[in-house]
Amino acid sequence: MARQIRLTPLIGLGLALSAPLIALADSSDSARLGDIQYGNALDPRGWTPVLGAPDPNGMSRLHAGSLRTPSGTLYPAPSLFGEHILGDWHYSGLLEVGYTWLSGHDDALFVHQYNDWNKGLALGLLWLDAYKPETGDYLEFRGSRAGDDDQFYRARGGRYGSYKVEAFYRDIPHLISSNAYPIWDGVGSGNLTLPAGLSAGDSEPAAVAAASDAAPRRKIKVDRSRTGVSLEGNIARQWIAYASLTNEERNGTRLWGGPMFFNYPFANNGGIMETVRPIDFTTTDVSAGARFVGALWRFNAVYTGSFFRDHQDQLDFQSPFHLTPVTGSPPVSLVSRGQFSLEPDNDAHNLRLELSRSLPWSGELSLTGAVGTMRQDDNLLAPTTCQGRVGIDLSPGPNFTVDCADWNTSAALSQKSADARIDTLLLDARLSFRPLPELGWHLEIRHYDEDNKTDYLSYNPQTGEYGYISENGSQAAVVPGEIGIFDPRNPLYASYFGQIRAVPYGYSDTSAELGADWRIGARNTLSAAYTYDRNQPDYRERSQVDENRLALAWVSRSIADGTLRVSYDFAVRSGDGYDYFPYADFYSVSVPGFVPSPAALPFTVDAMRKYDLSNRKQNKFRAIFTHPVGDNATASTVLYGRYNDYSARVGRHGDNATGLMLQWDYQPLPSFTFGAYVGGEFGETRMSNVADAEAVVSADPHYGGAKYPYGNSWNETDKERNLNAGLNFARSFGRTRVDGAYSFVYARGQLDYDYATTAALAANQLPFASELSAFPDTHYRVHTVDLGITQAVTNELAMRLFGRYEFGDFDDWHYAGFDRSLSYDHRIYTDRGPGSHYDASLIGLMLQLKI
């Protein structure tokens, strides 16, 4: 059950608790998770208007050109800032407001994926910055509003070196589809009902198609609203305390599923629905900690808690499709409703302690320990919502029906709530020394453990049966006996092979690394590290997975005045024996009384190797070269590759990616910058699988055996090609500033397949084998052009006119045909996909007023 956490009292409590902490400060932002960046698509930096005109004198009068980072990258030219004085306070600020017009395909997914710009008033930026030089007291504010669901406001205040208080509010939109046509009423709620004209469980496909055609277009989107306060400051000499409280509301909808058993093997049967689920989440995060920074010791202790609440426990949906027993016998009832449990409320706690001590020989010992727990105890839904009886009665033969009353209440559960819990433990120790300026070495040992304590038995105390009602009874309504229950006392169900207990997946991971680096002269460093990692998953196909990794790196500042960073990793992963079916203890076969069936089928093929556990050889490299060119340009190159080779006969064979990026930055003047880049990445993933011989009754799991013959094997390769290019410039002429950018993104995916024989095909596709062809390529191509001109009218007032023109095209075979129809026999889809082409223009006219 959702237990709502109210924000206001908690924030009030947070502020109240902060009162005694008169001296708090630096938020150490880079340690904080989330809410580091505030911006939007109008201004991703979240303060670009403040940059204003560049200082014509640049950063220094003593150096030609722009200054560079140690690696050789140019620093941007600084801006001209001004400030006013009011009493003891110095302040500056900027207000940018205006109007934006969006035209063209203004509702296209890729125009609005994470922004809510539209036609209307927009607050580009409100920025205020005030400080008191004598005391170091300061206040900052930044706010922007691109649309109702796309805005942020953040205020900070405090005293430098003493304390800081921060509060923020932000809305982040996420458009998932702007091209959705759900047939149901109640979208956004937890109960989807069919519209007038459709009968639950008893509608013809043509009627469903008509309802789909008549359904209004809708947006599927989730809006994320976050509110938070944080404070930090000195509580004693060398001691800092900090605390934060954040509340997040997520509201909206997402595309979801809806199975009422297969349609593909049975024409005019089963039911597949793309439904829409509600999103109604609240997450409250708290943290509090203290740290000590001394000459020898550094210490940090922090508690973090996260409390997630889902205000919708379930999604119930009506299915329009009629289910027919494959035996031809009449159905005992209409199965017309499906149900999903949505995410349960959960709580998480984590306590982390970090301790570092400086040692002789420029050494340091750093210890980290963290204990955590994730828990949820939501009430469980009943195994089914069906009414009456469900299943197939083959009288005078077996009666494969069950009384729903035995299963549709919580009395059918072995436990009423989930009582799920995972405890975590992290231990990390790192010892490093630099006995000589030229030589350093380190040793690190890390252990992480996830202990899953969840234990759930699918057992109905009312009937004494194990298992559950599969797909809310729809499977049982189509195939005799496929109800999903196991009962050692009942010959009808004593051989049913199914999962009857939850598997408490967990793992531990222990690694040790020994590394060293040598400085060769002043400009070259070589380093090497060897890492051994042992992963021990619980209840998986392997109980131990070992990886040996050698990492080499070279950093050079001796090549053409540039900085070269090259790294290469070679890793070999192996492990103990691979058990293709390690789940026996959680299946009905483990229950006394299970009767092996002569018609039993293997769980899977024995040659399968899941890629997260299989043997693997990995080669990885990366080279980054930053090359200063003259006084005012930088050329940079990134070349990288990743090559994984899995020694699997069935499963993922390998994946790789190779890429090259080139970038040129040119800053001849503070008033003129130009940049250009081009790059590409090429990669592929290869796999194989084997279709089981469905007509063969055999329990043989062997690859090449009767059930998984070589003739049924097939291979697939997904090739991806990604290209990026773009340029940007900014030029100031007196009071006028012109800026622009162009970017091009192109991605192409190519899915190839081959097979030993057509027996690899799905049986329903076999009759059409003569039509076999290649998958259409997927592609995503976007051109974006930005242009802007800012004209200062006075020293305080400026106008900015800007525009963006974006056009692109998209194709993904998953949506092939959906532009014509979303209805296919007993399947009904909701999302037509992003559309094949779009173009949109955004024009904005903004007034900038310096405060």
Partner: protein, 361 residues
């Protein structure tokens, strides 16, 4: 340009005058330093100066009693100029007026100067650049002062140690041994404390993400793909998930694990759930690329291929899917169309339904 050149000439002349004066001061100050005289500076960030306590510029009793931490910051130690002594910011500014102009807009400047109010001479510059007498006397001598820019004679490790003299601990607790430290990055590769180039964090570029993209161009390019986190839209930055200063994970994540980071925004996935999907519980990256993907929802491969790399189970999961099963094909197949496997196994991240062992419910 002409005006700028004129200003440069004036600045150089002022430098020459200052250099002559400093030459006379340096000897006596050097003697004072050798005697343990403490050149007190305004403190900086939290914990300011504490890590420098083991340097030769130990805090004096007067400093220990200072009112704000910025008053406790010590002059940085420059191993390449041990004879140099502090000269005060006013002297530095005589030549570096333009630097001072830009620096004055930064948090560093405001904090140091507030700390210096009414306590001592402002030696803000030297708290980072080290004692300036040698540099003032020989402005072009390499290593006379701690420089943080390209081709500095001061090793990167010394540059970083200087910054950590005040900024040790906290987010920098795991800097030593981090991949960025190992790759020889200086703090000033990512930060420019001398100018306000970014809204906060004194970044070396105009935003965090632009700074990271200076080296990680390929990762930045991934964010342009069809599905991505809202980084190009400015709603988040690299530093929302990663701590570039180091952490206890290889990819510099801020939490104990990859999943811990993902749960910070996707808390509903945390569970635990009654029925778990093991690769999901172990590592979200088994199926998702958080930086961007050409598939829906950041998936690393098209479905059903992604699922079929592990699922060979008897019956429906292991059939070869071909274009015949597309919506435009002769035998449309729900295992291929639309959401593919997820049309039925919608609770693929795990189900809390007692009938959800296969994530159907």
């Amino acid at each position: 340009m002409h005006a700028r050149g004129k200003s440069a000439v004036v600045a150089v002349l002022r430098c020459a005058i200052v250099a002559l004066a400093i030459g006379n001061m340096a000897d006596s100050r050097a003697q004072s330093a050798a005697d343990g005289y403490h050149y007190m500076l305004p403190d900086t960030d939290m914990g300011a100066g504490t890590s420098r306590g083991r340097s030769k510029t130990q805090a004096s009793p007067a400093a220990a009693a200072a009112a704000t931490p910025f008053e406790r910051a010590a002059v940085a130690v420059n191993p390449q100029a041990p004879e140099a002594v502090p000269i005060g910011s006013a002297t530095c500014i005589a030549c570096h007026s333009q630097e001072n102009l830009q620096f004055s807009h930064t948090l560093h400047a405001r904090a140091f100067r507030a700390g210096a109010m009414g306590s001592s001479a402002d030696r803000t510059c030297e708290s980072c650049h080290g004692p300036g007498s040698l540099h003032a006397g020989s402005p072009t001598r390499p290593g006379a002062i701690i420089a943080f820019t390209h081709n500095s004679a001061i090793p990167v490790a010394t540059q970083a140690a200087t910054c950590l003299g005040c900024h040790a601990g906290g987010a920098r607790q795991h800097w030593l041994g981090s991949v960025h430290e190992a790759r020889g990055l200086s703090c000033s590769d990512c930060h420019n404390p001398m100018a306000k180039l970014s809204p906060e964090g004194l970044m070396a570029k105009n935003s965090i993400s632009e700074t990271c993209a200076g080296c990680h161009q390929d990762i930045r390019a991934k964010f342009n793909r069809r599905s991505h986190m809202p980084l190009p839209e400015g709603q988040m930055s690299c530093a929302d998930c990663h701590n570039p200063h180091g952490s206890v994970t290889k990819p510099l994540l801020k939490t104990d694990t990859v999943n811990g980071t993902c749960y910070s925004c996707h808390a509903e996935k945390r569970g635990p759930l009654l029925f778990e999907h093991p690769p999901v519980r172990t590592n979200c990256l088994n199926c998702h690329d958080p930086h961007g993907s050409n598939q829906q929802t950041l998936l690393v491969a098209p479905m059903p291929m992604l699922c079929q790399q592990c699922h060979t189970m008897t019956r429906h999961p292991n059939d070869l899917q071909t274009p015949i099963g597309l919506g435009i094909g002769s035998a449309p197949d729900e295992r291929l169309m639309g959401r593919s496997c997820l049309s039925c196994h919608a609770n693929v991240h795990g189900s809390n339904n007692p009938s959800g062992a296969r994530f159907h419910k």
